[in-house]
Structures are given as structure tokens and as C-alpha cells.
């Protein structure tokens, strides 16, 4: 499989304080990769550097063979990165349909296709996204990212703060997406992650400390890097 995204020794700063000290991460075309670590270890920061929302100081990021250093944010997105940010972030006064279509780019993912994945969005098509439940907003955020026809979908805490039933729906959708495009998932539920991910990366204090298959995640590793 060809490498889609590759991070090598990425460091990043928020002002004077260093957040990333050396992230190594790679995702192959069509692969599902889990990014794990405790709170504050740099998972979201890593995602921000991938999208160029935060400029890395050192290290190299290449997406689809192109180095993204210094590239404008919208150009990085257009290379094929669909970001579903933490906290959903829909455009509240716009309707579901408007949220979906505004930034859509041509490709296999159409509104119809997204509504098949999340039938609830079809029911809520003309509703303002501020009136949706948290789970529906999450579905909308994922749908919106898919409508840009990305090659890599980044899900940052996609099931956070949702009811267990709704979480199951989101996980089911991720399972259905698997194989269609590469996915980078950040989540807290180890059980679900190890079920869907092809590979996992553990990060601690802004460094990649372990990489391997979910089967290789021993209790020692999870206790050391994920347990509280």
C-alpha cells in the first residue's frame, strides 16, 4: 500500500511553549489509523499540524507525496483532507443541506450518498443545524467532510459526549467507511478503536512512543500510556 500521509519528527509550538516534540505517523491509502494518548498529550495538536492550522516548526509532513510545509490551509484541505474537528463545529444558522453543500467538491460522495450513510440527515435536511442533537451534529460534521470527497478523513473525538446508542451509530458508520478512504481516528474508547483500526499510534508528551497493530497493545502499554 502506498503511503498517503507521512509525518516525520514533527515539532510544534503554541507561542513559546512547545506542544509537539517529535511526532512520527504514517497512514497508507485506505487504512484506518488510531491516534491515542491521554488528555493534553498532543493528539489534537497533531491533527492541527496535519491541516496546517498550526504550522510545524521542524520535521516534515507530506500528503499524497506533496510536502505541505508553508502551504495555505485551504490548499492542504483541497489535497484531500476532510477534517471533522473536535466539538463538531457545524455552521449553526445554516440548514443541514446548506452545511453539506457549501464546500462540497465533486466526487463519489454526494448528498444522496451521505444521506444513505446517515438517514437522519435526510430527515433533518431543511432544519437549522443549531436545532440538531449532538449526535446529529456529529453526523452532519462527518457528512460535511465527506462531501469534500477527501482521501483522508480525520475524526477528532467524534463520539465524545454522545449517548451510547448514538455512539454506536457513529462507530457503525466508521466501520462502513473503512476501506473507502483512509481514516485517522482519535477517541477515548479503546475497545471500539482496536476493533476498527488497522494500526495504532500512542503518543505521550508530544512524542510518538509506540506504533503497531491493535493486537500488539498489551495491558502494560495501555496502562502506561492511556490509563489514568
Amino acid at each position: 500500500m502506498t503511503t498517503l500521509l507521512d509525518l516525520k519528527g514533527v515539532t510544534a509550538f503554541y507561542g513559546a511553549s512547545q506542544a509537539l516534540f517529535g511526532i512520527d505517523l504514517d497512514i497508507a491509502e485506505g487504512e484506518v489509523v488510531a491516534l491515542m494518548g491521554r488528555n493534553g498529550m498532543g493528539k489534537t495538536t497533531t491533527v492541527r499540524t496535519i491541516s496546517n492550522l498550526l504550522r510545524p516548526r521542524d520535521g516534515a509532513i507530506t500528503f499524497a507525496g506533496q510536502p505541505t510545509r508553508g502551504m495555505a490551509i485551504h490548499r492542504v484541505a483541497r489535497l484531500g483532507i476532510g477534517l471533522v474537528p473536535e466539538g463538531r463545529r457545524c455552521f449553526a444558522p445554516l440548514t443541514v443541506e446548506e452545511n453539506l453543500t457549501a464546500a462540497a467538491r465533486p466526487g463519489g460522495w454526494t448528498q444522496q450518498h451521505v444521506e444513505q450513510l446517515f438517514p437522519r440527515l435526510a430527515e433533518r435536511r431543511a432544519q437549522k443545524s443549531s436545532t440538531l442533537s449532538g449526535g446529529e451534529q456529529q453526523m452532519l460534521a462527518i457528512g460535511r467532510a465527506l462531501m469534500t470527497n477527501p482521501r483522508l478523513l480525520i475524526l477528532d473525538e467524534a463520539t465524545e459526549g454522545l449517548a451510547p446508542v448514538v455512539r454506536q451509530e457513529i462507530w457503525a458508520a466508521i466501520h462502513r467507511l473503512k476501506g473507502e478512504l483512509a481514516i485517522l481516528v482519535i477517541d477515548k474508547t479503546l475497545k471500539e478503536l482496536s476493533r476498527v483500526a488497522d494500526r495504532c499510534f500512542l503518543i505521550e508528551r508530544g512524542r510518538t512512543v509506540w506504533a503497531g497493530t491493535p493486537a500488539g497493545l498489551t495491558p502494560e502499554l495501555t496502562d502506561r500510556y492511556l490509563g489514568v
Partner: protein, 326 residues
């Protein structure tokens, strides 16, 4: 139909009814006032595209209003004096044909708005307000100091420009022309705001970074909105010059930029017909209160203050009781 749609139709029908009624009862001056309201409303509708939908508070739209006015004035005066507009590289005569004048006004304003917007949109907030004002002032002083077209004294259009075989000197005919163009501009603005471009513009206002991370550069969307908005304002300016049969640098002054913003805020920011009702109220106050006192802008200021403090959705928001959706 939502309440706002009904209200919008009522506003437009009301304006038309006032003009027709006044004409029938032999009050050409009232028709003139209705025309003024329609034209100023059109300029407000144009500004609203940038200010209301795009959140771009331009304090320099008088520049485009004046450019439209001067396009009409310069073309007409050249034609009426039988002087060519220019002799090099090709000899270009003036014209009194309204469609050509409108087209010239709109294109000229678009071409000037493009660099102004491209530079101004690199800033934001207060700086954007000030830089648009600065550009408008540059054009204002240029018009004052350039003697070829009247300089500070302005430029007269002896006979209103022509549109086919219509008698444009008839107040009612001219009102209907302005009203038809107002409907056209309103329709185009509605189509634009409901298109993907309009959605992206709303997103750029709400959260530019989020839009960027979805692969759309807010700058391009905003620049398009700024240019389109300038074009609509220029069309209104061309009509305004024809209405008064006079163009002067006053049309370019920052007072007018302020008035346009007042129309938008008074009527309702981001509401399709908001600026129109704002302009109607403005014209009415100017006429009635202006007859009573020279200081009629004082009560206008009080009303504006009340609207800003207690009716954030403007008059339209007050009547429909809902927040703007765009």
C-alpha cells in the same frame, strides 16, 4: 411563506402603490420621492450583500455610488455636447442610452472594486472600515480636483438619458424603470445568497478558519461579494444621477457611505428588503422632519440608536420578530 417574505412583498407593493397613487392624484413630487427611496434602497441592498451577508463593514461604498453617477454624467455630457469621450486609441462617442450607461457604471465599479477589495480584504475589523473609507476619500478628492468634469461644481445632465422610446422625463416612467431594476437587483442578491457562493459567504462571516479547513478560501468569496456589492451600488448611482440630472463629488463623500450603512442597520442587517425599508424611512424623515427643522438628523440619530439598542434585527426584525437566518 414566512412572515418575512410576506413583509418583503408588502414593502415592495407599498412602494409601488405610493408611486402609482401619487401619480394618479397629481403629486409628481411624491413619485420623485418614491424613486429616490427605490434608488437609495437599491444601493442599500447592494451594500447589504457585503455588510449583511458577508460581515464586511465597508465605509467606502459611496465611491461606487459616485462612480456609477459619474459614468452616467460623463457619458451623457459627452453625447449632449457632441464631444467624443476620447480620441485615442479609438474615437469613442458618449451616449445617452441607459442600458449602455448602466453597463458602463457596473463594469467600471467592478473593475475599481476589485483592487480596492483585494487590498482592503487583507485587513479586518476596524482596519477594513478605515481602509475602505480611505479609498473612497481618495476617489472623492480626485473628483473634486479634476476639472474636466466640473470638479467641485459637479456635472449637469440636461435631459434625462433615454431608454428605447420611453419618456424618461415622466416621473412615473422613471420610477418604474428604477423599481424594475430594484426588483432585478433584489432577485439577483437573493439568488446569490442562496447559492453555494452565498452559503460560503455566510460561513466566512461565521467562522472563516472553519471554512478554510474545508478547502474554501474566504478571501475569494469575500472579494466576489465585495465586487458584486459595488456593482449593485454603482447601478443605483447611475440611476441617482439620472434622477437628479446632476452628479457631483457629494455622491462620493463619506456622508453617503454612512447613509448607506444607516439604511442597512435601520431596516435590518442581512435581510433582503431591510435596506429598502431603511431607505424609505430615511427619505420620509428627511422630507417631513426636514420641513420642520434643519436639524432633522438629530431625531434620525435617536431612532438609529433605539434600533441598535433594542431592535437588533432592524425594522424587519422588529416586525417579524425573528433573527436573521443568514
Amino acid at each position: 411563506m414566512s412572515r418575512e417574505t410576506i413583509l418583503n412583498v408588502a414593502i415592495l407593493a407599498g412602494l409601488l402603490a405610493v408611486a402609482l397613487g401619487a401619480w394618479a392624484s397629481g403629486e409628481p413630487f411624491v413619485v420623485q420621492l418614491a424613486t429616490r427611496a427605490a434608488i437609495l434602497g437599491m444601493a442599500g441592498v447592494g451594500l447589504n450583500l457585503a455588510l449583511g451577508y458577508g460581515g464586511l463593514v465597508s465605509f467606502g461604498h459611496a465611491a461606487f455610488f459616485g462612480i456609477g453617477g459619474y459614468a452616467a454624467g460623463i457619458l451623457a455630457s459627452a453625447a449632449q455636447n457632441y464631444e467624443p469621450l476620447m480620441t485615442w486609441p479609438v474615437e469613442l462617442p458618449g451616449t445617452t442610452s441607459m442600458p449602455i450607461i448602466w453597463l458602463t457604471a457596473v463594469i467600471a465599479a467592478g473593475l475599481i472594486a476589485l483592487p480596492i477589495g483585494a487590498l482592503s480584504l487583507r485587513t479586518g475589523g476596524v482596519h477594513f472600515i478605515m481602509i475602505t473609507l480611505a479609498f473612497a476619500q481618495m476617489i472623492y478628492y480626485f473628483a473634486i480636483s479634476w476639472p474636466a468634469y466640473g470638479g467641485e461644481d459637479g456635472l449637469s445632465i440636461y435631459v434625462r438619458n433615454s431608454l428605447g422610446t420611453l419618456d424618461t422625463m415622466s416621473p412615473l416612467t422613471f420610477f418604474l424603470i428604477a423599481f424594475a431594476l430594484l426588483l432585478l437587483v433584489l432577485g439577483l442578491v437573493l439568488v446569490a445568497t442562496r447559492s453555494r457562493f452565498g452559503l460560503a459567504l455566510a460561513m466566512a462571516r461565521q467562522n472563516p478558519l472553519r471554512l478554510t479547513s474545508m478547502g474554501v478560501r474566504p478571501f475569494n468569496v469575500r472579494l466576489t461579494a465585495f465586487v458584486l456589492s459595488a456593482m449593485a451600488v454603482a447601478l443605483a448611482g447611475a440611476l441617482y444621477a439620472d434622477l437628479n440630472r446632476f452628479v457631483s463629488p457629494t455622491m462620493l463623500s463619506w456622508h453617503l457611505s454612512g447613509e448607506l450603512i444607516v439604511f442597512v442597520i435601520l431596516g435590518g442587517v442581512g435581510r433582503p428588503c431591510g435596506p429598502l425599508i431603511g431607505a424609505c424611512i430615511y427619505v420620509l424623515l428627511e422630507q417631513w422632519l426636514g420641513g420642520l427643522t434643519d436639524y432633522w438628523q438629530f431625531p434620525l440619530g435617536v431612532i438609529l440608536l433605539l434600533v441598535v439598542l433594542f431592535a437588533r434585527g432592524g425594522v424587519i426584525g422588529l416586525v417579524t420578530g425573528r433573527n436573521a437566518n443568514a
